[in-house]
Symmetry: C2
Amino acid sequence: MATHDSALAHTSTPVETVTCGPIYSSTKAYRSVDIPGADATTSGADATASGPADAASERATTMQVPVRRINLTDGTSFDAYDTSGPYTGYATAAECHDLALGLPRTRNDWTHPEPVPVSGNGAETSSSSSSSSSPSARTHQVGTDQIRTQLAWARAGLVTPEMRFVAAREGVDVEVVRAEVAAGRAVIPANHRHPESEPMIIGKRFATKINANIGNSAVTSSIAEEVEKMVWAIRWGADTIMDLSTGADIHATREWILRNSPVPVGTVPIYQALEKVGGDPAKLTWELYRDTVIEQCEQGVDYMTVHAGVLLRYVPLAAKRVTGIVSRGGSIMAAWCLAHHRESFLYTHFAELCEILAGYDVTFSLGDGLRPGSIADANDEAQFAELRTLGELTRVAKAHGVQVMIEGPGHVPMDKIVENVRLEEQWCDEAPFYTLGPLATDIAPGYDHITSAIGAARIAEAGTAMLCYVTPKEHLGLPNRDDVKTGVITYKIAAHSADLAKGHPRAQERDDALSTARFEFRWRDQFALSLDPDTAREFHDETLPAEPAKTAHFCSMCGPKFCSMRISQDIRDYAAEHGLDTVEAIEAGMAEKSTEFADAGGRVYLPISTN
Amino acid sequence: MATHDSALAHTSTPVETVTCGPIYSSTKAYRSVDIPGADATTSGADATASGPADAASERATTMQVPVRRINLTDGTSFDAYDTSGPYTGYATAAECHDLALGLPRTRNDWTHPEPVPVSGNGAETSSSSSSSSSPSARTHQVGTDQIRTQLAWARAGLVTPEMRFVAAREGVDVEVVRAEVAAGRAVIPANHRHPESEPMIIGKRFATKINANIGNSAVTSSIAEEVEKMVWAIRWGADTIMDLSTGADIHATREWILRNSPVPVGTVPIYQALEKVGGDPAKLTWELYRDTVIEQCEQGVDYMTVHAGVLLRYVPLAAKRVTGIVSRGGSIMAAWCLAHHRESFLYTHFAELCEILAGYDVTFSLGDGLRPGSIADANDEAQFAELRTLGELTRVAKAHGVQVMIEGPGHVPMDKIVENVRLEEQWCDEAPFYTLGPLATDIAPGYDHITSAIGAARIAEAGTAMLCYVTPKEHLGLPNRDDVKTGVITYKIAAHSADLAKGHPRAQERDDALSTARFEFRWRDQFALSLDPDTAREFHDETLPAEPAKTAHFCSMCGPKFCSMRISQDIRDYAAEHGLDTVEAIEAGMAEKSTEFADAGGRVYLPISTN
């Protein structure tokens, strides 16, 4: 596999170690997936995206798709979707790759299709009404350039290695992947400049994904902490991470993260742009912002939040709210619009932005700068006015061959959640919805991972494709390592609950495996199959620490005499042995059976001492 | 107020102290509510229910309805529904009443209506099909006795002090309370023998309630711990508690809890009955169970879980499940039915049970002994067969003038939750539904407060009246003090989220108050209005501990330069001052305004140092 020289070694705060080692009772495994046509001649297009060293490297004929293999005590195993990268494959931190060199640039070895015309074969024409300063595709030359984005390839009927990779991960046919990407209902955020990433897909047809936000702020935190947070977040299941750094060392922090991240990395470029002008929104310019975006595209950022829907005329709508504008990016742009009394440069220059992102296959995450920050402001005029504009921008982006997802709220009471999804689908042509929670109530700071998981599960069930996690520190402070884990696990719960409710084909397999282990008192397997085996085991040990308790046919809740599951197992065995396992048999009234049952030694009751 | 001698002082393990003292920035307050006709002659009926000492006591003319008054820094206050009893009114534990004497028997001083005929004026006749061993009301003399239950009084058009008390707590007209109780859509669990309780109502028309389970087990815990758990649980908002003790000292533990509990106490009498026969279900008899129920009625238990719907013919249905029978009570009764090959004595003697409970106004909580214990078993034949039987029993109980609620699952994926409520309403005549979660997935032991809060919020939105909490230790161990608090707060979140979604009239007031405080950077008020002020403050202090940070116009998330709320406030002020607060004003294109804005000193941007 290709490696590369890195600027990381020269930064002032090298990252020493990160969390490595297998997850409880699990081993890292890879399934080999063929890349058809990979032994053809080297793709010139691909070489464009990678460094000189990579251009000469051999084309890969197979891809290694990761799984976490959970090894069970009954000799079977369960393969779980795995986001954790090689870190869980190293036995110890000592085995870890050199973080200063970064992960292998695996995707550079894959053979990609040739560039295709920007509009592909299924390009849509923008049908939105254009305002005076509309960034409509019609005012800009589109369709003449040859580009290399998953969207353009999918529309051209071409299957990429990334599509095969995600099809294998999701357990679906690759044609489903291609069709969903072509329709704009799914995105594969994979910047050509982030070849270290393991491709993943975001779309309602697939498993619901979760994002974890990390990043330093003006107040606290270091590069080393942020890289460790990334590794820690993906260990527990984060499908993407966003680096929201606003303090010092933004560029270097991002470089360390990108070079070591096996998951797509998202950013909000306006944060870095604002740093460059000393924190004064009025001093922002299109040119400075554009250069910042290019800098981040070059680094390898996979998707970018752009608050291009915060229009000048929407600002007064937000002024009347209980909590005004709560999005940082949204408030920055609102301040800029008011200060200059001009339309947002993100909106007026949107077509140029599309051209830049198309060159790298960076995915838009159109930000909801006017999302509600309180129950009182949910589903209001400001929010939905912006959402309509995001729909307009979605069509422009797609016309440029750029992948798009749409960000959503925020704070929304449960009865108003589904409407958000329906309107997003209607106005934004079913672009993948990517929501922050939403929080179902405002009254529980300190527990907003929970208030938002309630909303997140609901909105994902309704069709949201990716959920941005919320940690217990939301509204109060910056998440530490424990908060990141709590946020990730909580959102895995919300996402999985939604997948069950949507009838996602393979979702229930893990529930069934865990519940069967529970019923059979395979405690270690119950821990191993859970989202957080360490905590499950720790909680069990708190009450019943002795080693025999791991195989005991009871637990601390009821004690040995009252265990319903144990009684239930005995009932099952007894019913089967005595022909009492059907309603008919029971109703036949075989009274003599009861005598047999008593004679059988009362196996329905537990012996007082077990193990 | 009446006090009483107590047997508590003579038990071997006196409870020394419990958690006392006000909640952050709150004071205990009471609203005085008149009892019309309270100066009439002493009610003989009331004297029947209370001890000799109480019979002579003076009738109260008013009731004191508790609220928690949250004092805000802007000079206003917010009154919150308060479950915590006098404990949060004592400045310190030293001020606490003598736990060995218990709380004042306040309800004994209230004047109640005279007894009324059991069927009231709206009694229903059981319309269910009766099986050979049906406990149908028709086979039993009903309607000749005079009884004193909230249901019978409500049906007779009579308003009780308890109804006035809960109307004041809920902020609704007392006639709404009476009508809902009369219709059987709401219950007021208030055993005459638990006069220490502050009445509360459970029904979908009212605020969603939560229950906290406590109780020792064969493995661990003591009386002192359990009393403290009760006080701790109600401090954070538990509306009722269930004592599920299965170990030693069941009777004494319950006595300590009841005499000191201002909230209704529920039990599962079969647990104590099973203790009396050494843990062998086959040795249970109707007579022994009946005596246990009477013992608990006499003590003052307010509602009892009775698994009378686990019929012999349903047992095989459960035997085929992934997780069989997971209800302790359900598995005990299934074992009894199989061992004797006879119909459950709870079912065949149900009418007698009704007569006993009617004598004390103890409320039935008809248990779902066949609830699903895994996603795979949700909404299956066993579960719904039992639910139909619970509907039959509901009609029998109501015909006896006994209040009824129905227990529900369990483990249910989100898409199957609403069906549970609709069938319960249809089959059980809208008796209040009381559910355990449900857990929306099986795969997160250690986080089942969260997996179940997702389901609980959903099922409450659909009409469930009370939610039984689940703690992080579910499936793994016994909850400690921290787990109890986490479970209670998590369920307050689920219940409140549902109340918001149902449009409960006063629910959003607290969200609005907190969000306004948040927007105005009144940090202390944000803490005070939150469900757990201590944790919110602690999390805030973790990142920004300095005292000035409590009034700072920014927080640690974005730091002083990027605070969206601060920018948003500046925008609001600026827009209002400059006539830019309407869409029309903006669209008029007043370009000169932008110059003014810049001249105004860039107030939209934050000063680098604040406070």
